[in-house]
Symmetry: C2
Subunit: 345 residues, 2 copies
């Protein structure tokens, strides 16, 4: 199988190299092809998502992404919107048709002290956030700034709601069987449709699963004050952007948070942390999230669950034997990666 790698910007290349090294170890059948995305692509071609990258996706079985974007004052952010690094990321998601973003939030046993929450709240947290990734206000066609007025429209259709809800229900069947659908149905018609369609799908196809509905403002509170109440959370694109980042702080380091984006073709796998331009090139970035994303690539993208589990186990061990700076240790990127490789065998 062919993995297209898109190292991207900032610490992206360093952590992607670590993930590739680990993949080579556990899945020798993989081939890799590197392409440009984001700021790196802008520098080389003037576009954040060049045609060569787009073409490469056609023969990919899975895509491994590093990180995209520059510092806040980067000249990339002065470009017209469609030429900025983030637009490359959005266009990539669209081109791959990856409508479901899966973000597991798990507090590693023994690492509770890293959490900003009290240990009695963070202990045992194990949430899967399922974010709709190709709809809503992100992909509105009529968006505009018109003199001193600007508009963006949040829009969802029943088929869009059903396909993401189905992913959440499918995931819940393999977990504790509880799905919380998040909306703002007391204010938004879009949420009314969302709630109606999610409920109807559960009744029709997943009658055994437990489904409840909560408002986004309330979930923002409860995910911090009582995270243990959640199993699978499913929500629309913008709410998912906010809530998945919020939940990601619970384990204490973004360096520990992988993600998978799935559709009907090749999946997209990436750490959720940013490009961290301040530490790029220094060899100190924690590659754990990228390596765990590689594990998700094997599990969800290539149906190699055993190899995936091996990586997850090795990462857990390396976090103890060679902790990186973000979790209170001293190991650099290469040292941590070496510890993972050693734990693998």
């Amino acid at each position: 199988p062919k993995v297209v790698t898109l190292p991207g910007d900032g610490i992206g290349p360093e952590v992607t190299a670590a993930a590739v090294a680990v993949l080579r170890e556990v899945a020798p059948d993989l081939t890799f092809e590197e392409h440009l995305l984001g700021g790196a692509a802008i520098e080389a071609t003037g576009e954040p998502f060049p045609q060569a990258t787009r073409d490469a996706l056609k023969t990919a079985d899975a895509v491994l992404l590093g990180t995209v974007g520059g510092a806040q004052n980067s000249p990339w952010n002065q470009l017209p919107r469609h030429l900025r690094p983030e637009s490359g990321l959005l266009a990539l998601r669209k081109a791959l048709g990856v409508y479901a973003n899966l973000r597991p939030v798990r507090v590693q046993p023994g690492l509770e002290h890293l959490s900003p929450l009290k240990p009695e709240l963070s202990r045992g947290v194990d949430i899967l956030i399922v974010r709709e990734l190709l709809g809503g206000i992100y992909f509105d066609q009529d968006r505009k700034i018109d003199g001193d007025t600007a508009y963006n429209t949040m829009r969802y259709t029943t088929p869009e709601v059903e396909r993401i809800a189905r992913i959440a229900f499918w995931a819940a069947e393999q977990r504790k069987g509880r799905v919380t659908s998040v909306d703002k149905a007391n204010v938004l018609e879009v949420s009314e449709l969302w709630r109606r369609d999610v409920t109807a799908l559960r009744d029709r196809e997943y009658p055994r699963l437990h489904l409840n509905h909560e408002y986004v403002d309330s979930v923002a509170m409860l995910i911090v004050s009582d995270p243990a109440r959640y199993d699978v959370i499913v929500t629309e694109n913008l709410f998912g952007d906010i809530l998945s980042d919020l939940a990601a702080v619970i384990p204490g380091s973004l360096g520990l948070m992988p993600s998978a984006s799935l559709g009907d073709g090749p999946g997209l796998f990436e750490p959720i942390h940013g490009s961290a331009p301040d530490i790029a090139g220094q060899g100190v970035a924690n590659p754990a999230a990228a390596i765990m994303s590689a594990a998700m690539l094997l599990r969800h993208g290539l149906d190699q669950p055993h190899a995936a589990a091996k990586i997850d186990g090795a990462v857990s061990q390396a976090l103890k034997t060679a902790p990186t700076r973000d979790i209170g240790g001293t190991a650099g990127t290469q040292e941590f990666t070496a510890a993972v490789l050693q734990a693998l065998g």
Copy 2:
């Protein structure tokens, strides 16, 4: 001056009665007139914001609100959207023209242990969230469900952005002088307009204040992992709904969180907690947030800062001498209120 009280639903009447008792003590010049809103109004008149309530606002100098809404399975939630309790609240905001929602988030010294955050993170937190309250996706005119598609449009105009930013800058001048404007400018045109107009206003009218811009997903993380970095946060309606509720968990009990909504006419003052139907009528609700909202009414609504400060001091004391159940004590609503009255003199 005349205060219109709208006790509303659930624990609303209990906590409003407590706040009125405290106001009578410190501001004997006030008169009170009680009216219906929300579920209580639906029961009595069939409408969540009846004409009699609307008329009463015309002669009000300030409005003191309890809480609005029923349990999730309440029959009120089965009504057409415009007849539900929440629509009454939105219509009230609109009728009063209160475009600026101010929510102070302060961790009371000695009560750090109540926070879900580690004490070293919650200690000394003092944030003011300024939420735009009459615009954006909440008040869209073209909202609809059309078969299997639904739409809501987020829209802002320069005058709307400027008037809320001005409130944030005005507040920052009396605090540490730092404003963080929150948007999603890497995706939304509305945010691009917002960022442009907030920046221009600062440059023009408040050049001495420190302004920075952050993305809403990033703020959701940082408000939990590093709340001390914020002084004043200003944002649009939907982001403000989510972030202000999120920030409200930091002090550890919603029972401690007041709010003020300001416009060009009478202001609206209310605790941010919900109607808590599960404990309504039992005399156990913590009225501190309602009483602190009454203090905000005196400070921002009637220009009586001294009386307001007296109330705040008395509440701080009562939290120590007669803590309620939500903060680990045993005092009921009346006992806590009596402790506040005693501390007042």
